[in-house]
């Protein structure tokens, strides 16, 4: 952004003025550079310290950390593993993504191309606001309001889709299960995905759209031919941002799910757990070693979200390079 001329003129002037770089400049640029470095140091420190505590914990774990279906770091010998947590985290996020991504694309299209102008602006504003609702409030609403509402849906799914195995409900009980968690997570990540995709759809080249319209395309054909291909990488990166959010969500899951350390593919049965939920639920009763064990599971979560977010950013960055070409 900044032109490179000012340093050049500074150098020319330095023949007359005694100092080439003013002390104020040096201090200020040093400060701002230092802040940038501080951020990098914090990221590195997070990785290093979590790894350090995790290694302490895992080296005393008598079972395999990745394949054990149990969480008992206080036992003698300590036994804990993340298999159930990893499974639950992935399953709930997959459900959330399967619901949220199509709906979010729909809403984004609604705001950018379908809604009447008068409705679109306030709607975009409301979606922005919704992205800021604290997760604990989603959790409270989910536990008290959504769970009873989904009971009927659960029974219906069990009755008609029970043969698919995953929708088979083996025990009676309220819907504090992975399926409900997935739906709640979907509702939570909806505003984030919608915001990003809407921005991308609005940037779709107007010329292409008008050309398609002029050739007699219907509105859907315009979107399919001009808007969606342009927005594809935006959709992917938005989804991955949402995925990162869903993977790390703590309180909403902790409040809604009734956890257990059993690996079950029956989505409608209560049970299972996620990384973040397990940390929040087990933290208060954990001793020093138990905390290290929880930190070890947190490290796995950190690495997963790092990979997901990094991939999302790479896709966005690649997009930037050629988006300048189409004006």
């Amino acid at each position: 952004m900044v032109t490179t001329t000012p340093p050049a003129t500074d150098q020319n002037r330095s023949r007359r003025a005694s100092s080439a770089v003013r002390p104020g400049d040096r201090i200020f640029s040093g400060l701002s550079k230092g802040s940038g470095i501080t951020l990098l140091v914090i990221m590195a420190a997070i990785a290093v310290f979590l790894t350090y505590r995790a290694v302490l914990a895992i080296s005393d774990d008598s079972a395999n950390f990745f394949t054990t279906f149990e969480w008992n770091p206080a036992g003698d010998p300590p036994v804990f593993g993340i298999a159930v947590l990893a499974f639950g985290t992935i399953v709930s996020s997959v459900i959330a993504m399967a619901i949220a991504v199509p709906v979010a694309i729909g809403i984004a299209l609604f705001i950018s191309h379908y809604a009447p102008r008068k409705l679109a602006k306030p709607l975009a504003y409301v979606v922005d606001l919704l992205a800021a609702v604290p997760s604990i409030i989603y959790g409270l609403w989910g536990a008290i309001f959504l769970v009873p509402y989904l009971d009927g849906l659960n029974q219906w799914l069990d009755q008609y889709l029970g043969w698919t195995y995953i929708f088979d409900k083996s025990a009676d009980g309220v819907a504090r299960n992975m399926f409900t968690v997935g739906i709640l997570l979907a509702i939570m990540i909806l505003p984030i995905i919608t915001n990003v995709t809407r921005e991308v759809f609005l940037q779709a080249p107007k010329m292409h759209e008008e050309a398609a319209l002029a050739l007699g395309a219907t509105r859907w054909e315009v979107i399919r031919m001009a808007v969606l291909p342009f927005g594809r990488s935006g959709i992917i990166s938005a989804s991955m941002l949402g995925l990162g959010r869903a993977l790390g969500e703590t309180m909403a899951v902790a409040v809604v799910l009734s956890p257990s350390f059993a690996l079950s593919l029956h989505l409608l049965d209560p049970g299972g757990g996620t990384f973040a939920q397990n940390i929040a639920a087990k933290f208060n009763e954990a001793d020093a070693y138990g905390r290290d064990a929880l930190i070890a599971s947190g490290l796995v979560l950190f690495v997963i979200t790092l990979l997901v977010n990094g991939a999302a950013r790479m896709i966005i960055a690649r997009r930037k390079e050629y988006s300048g070409a189409n004006a």
Partner: protein, 357 residues
Amino acid sequence: MSHAVQERPVALSKPRGPLSHARLPRWTPAAVAAGSIAAGIGIGLAAGWHSRTQWGMLAALLFVLVSYALTSKVEGARQAKDRVATSLVWVCFVLAVVPLLSLAWVTISKGIAVLDVYFLTHSMNGVLDAEAGGGVYHALLGTIEQVGIATLIAAPIGLLTAVYLVEYGKGRLAKAVTFFVDVMTGIPSIVAGLFVLSTWTLMLDFGPSGFAGAMALAILMMPVVVRSTEEMLKLVPNELREASLALGIPKWRTILKVVLPTAIGGITTGVMLAVARITGETAPVLLLVFGTKLINPNPFEGAQSSLPLYVYEQYQVGTDQSVARAWAAALVLIAFVMILNMVARGIARWKAPKTGR
């Protein structure tokens, strides 16, 4: 003979009338929507389904199918596809709006029942779980202190980093900072909490305190501040910088006196949005601040409470009275966050930087 040939096209086009196809009247979508909602409720009642979610889903399904059938009959296949896409988009919109409206409605209606001045000005000291009364003052105080400290840590670092990226940053370091700021935005709040736990609490052996929570919140806040400030600084027209530098003003004074004041509206907005985001974070507070029923005005020593943590604790207790308190605290929290958001967006609109032409 030639007469007849010339007349033929006229004869053909006559039954087709004007250039456009036959079209459904404009009120069709609304009518189909009303009809399918009625049918959904009717069938739901008749079959005795418990969940109104199912009624809604049936209505949505009927809406899409009926509009497809009608349109393909009257207007043709391409128009029908278009109509289906339109109805699907509308269904998505409704699907999203229903839970979100319900969230807002439930929180307000349940929260307002307990919320009063007493609730805002008293702590939970000596209040039993199954007892009505008590309040949220200690949590409100804790939240304000923790978020304040977090802002004091994160805002300067975030601001200066953004200045570095826009005004000075070149080469590898700037690229690395940009990338990691982006990645840092996605750190789960509980991981930030665990990091502070592993250093501050486990290594340096400090007890729970508001300050520990504030550090975790600051980690979550920094990348948000950097991102928004960066965007704002990029909007400042280069001519302003060049004019100032041409007058012989040092670069640091140019940044402080010309660039930052131009973008100050947007920067304020960004910081406030970041504050709103961390205000609602529960997980790091749960790990590091611990929660208490008493008023603890000192953020550097002893457990404190905070609004989101208070909501969680009162929900966990599970009595009718405590759940009512949880809703009221949720309402306070949501009001706090929403007011911050609206003010921030108001400032953004009011003080939008002038972008050259």
